[in-house]
């Protein structure tokens, strides 16, 4: 059986999001490195995988997919019997998980990625941080985390009793944010803090970090 191929770059949060899923599901895969410094993601060959010129992209047989969250849902469904269950089969439980997957994508990620870019990535590239953007997005993130604190007081994981994609999707940006001043917003909320400690300790996530540290 042909292995699935993940085209991406370990430094990219979206690529890490897919790698985390592939490791959780224990799927044989090939990681095809896309050299973003050389602009490979904007060239014709890669654009045939993702017309938006962004990593990652997935190949599974004849299927090509882009958008990390869509890729992860596909993997979670297609390989449901392998590794960790990352979605619920029960439709009501899946509906709740689906809500929190959208919350991550629409409420959490916009603020979290902007903060990660300003505070973690820009300094590495020798670019200066925009403090106005940081202030605005820290305030937004704090409000989102207040909602998370209430939710996680009632539920061990965002979707329910079990770890699912709704939790996993947060891991890559969490990784970058925890190296910055933003960490305090997570530490100061006890249920959020416990949830972060739990999900970042997962063996599959540690494998993603090991790959990253080789770069």
């Amino acid at each position: 059986m042909a292995a699935i191929k993940v085209h991406g770059n370990p430094l990219s949060t979206a690529s890490m999001r897919v790698l985390a899923t592939v490791y959780e599901k224990e799927i044989d895969h090939e990681f095809v490195f896309v050299d973003m410094r050389a602009g490979e993601h904007k060239k014709e060959h890669f654009l045939s995988f993702n017309p938006f010129g962004q990593v990652p992209a997935l190949e599974d047989g004849d299927l090509k997919l882009f958008e990390s969250r869509a890729i992860n849902k596909y993997i979670a469904c297609e390989y449901a019997v392998k590794g960790t269950q990352l979605i619920y089969q029960d439709s009501k439980k899946m509906a709740i998980t689906s809500v929190w997957m959208e919350v991550e994508a629409q409420q959490y990620d916009p603020a979290a990625s902007k903060l990660g870019w300003e505070l973690a990535i820009k300094p590495l590239l020798g670019m200066s941080t925009d403090t106005a953007v940081v202030e605005e997005n820290e305030a937004k993130l704090a409000k989102v985390l207040d909602v998370y604190e209430s939710r996680l007081a009632q539920s061990k994981y965002l979707g329910g009793d079990c770890f699912t994609l709704a939790d996993l999707h947060h891991l890559p940006t969490l990784h970058y944010l925890f190296g910055t001043q933003v960490k305090k917003h997570f530490d100061s909320r006890p249920h959020v803090s416990a949830w972060v400690a739990d999900i970042t300790a997962r063996p599959a996530w540690l494998k993603v970090l090991a790959l990253l540290s080789q770069q």
Binding site: L65, F66, R69, A70, A95, S98, V99, A105, Q106, Q107
Partner: protein, 218 residues
């Protein structure tokens, strides 16, 4: 007969209208419960129980209460798979994956610049909020780049995810409706041949016409 599902929020809200379009497309009966946002009803404790971020829509069906318009649409399509447009969310896993891919593209690439333009150009004037010309220009540029990619894609396929109208196309209806009918930025869509053709086709769906009527009625 089943109890109608409940949708909370005004039909003029883009996210509410996304859910209404899906319910019409799937022939699922609904009760629309008004939320007076100018009076801050969406920030009150009773509403926050349904939607903890204080945003519309919220949704209830037998024993379930959910929010986030795209999650609501997916739930409706899965629960009522045999009703109305059966192919709206695909009838096999590969079709569903392709539709999810373009729903994500809508949510991550199309929605940010288009919703900012909708707010600046259609809502801000009504709310006596000053428009920000720099923000408008930046987001028009971003949206143009996204629509260039859509132009190419819609030259390869009739709809975003393939040959059939899907939830992916539907997700784009609310913001585009405002931009084409309520602002001077409609040419972003109509000046691109394939995007223009696609917009004509998806906005002619009976389900969308019903939503537009509902919006005009309020």
């Amino acid at each position: 007969m089943a109890t109608p599902v409940k949708v909370y929020g005004p039909p003029m809200s883009t996210a509410v209208s996304r859910v209404l379009a899906c319910l019409y497309e799937k022939n699922v009966e609904f009760e629309l419960i008004s939320i007076n946002m100018s009076k801050g009803e969406h920030k009150k404790p009773e509403f926050l129980k349904l939607q903890p971020f204080g945003q519309v829509p919220a949704f209830e069906d037998e024993g379930i209460s959910i929010f986030e318009s795209r999650a609501i649409c997916r739930y409706v399509c899965d629960k009522y798979a045999d009703k109305g447009n059966k192919g709206l969310y695909g009838t096999n896993p590969l079709a569903k994956a392709s539709i999810d891919q373009w729903i994500e593209a809508e949510g991550q690439s199309f929605n940010p610049p288009s919703s900012t333009l909708v707010f600046q150009l259609a809502f801000a004037p009504r709310m006596n909020i000053k428009q920000d010309k720099v923000v408008i220009r930046q987001n028009e540029e971003k949206l143009s780049k996204v629509l260039d990619i859509y132009e190419k894609r819609l030259g390869e396929a009739r709809f975003l995810a393939g040959d059939e109208f899907s939830l992916a196309d539907l997700s784009h209806l609310p913001n585009t409706q405002y931009l084409v009918s309520g602002t001077d930025k409609g040419n972003l869509f109509t000046s691109r041949e394939n995007v223009g053709r696609w917009w004509d086709e998806i906005s002619s769906q009976d389900s969308w016409k019903k939503v537009v009527d509902l919006q005009k009625g309020t």
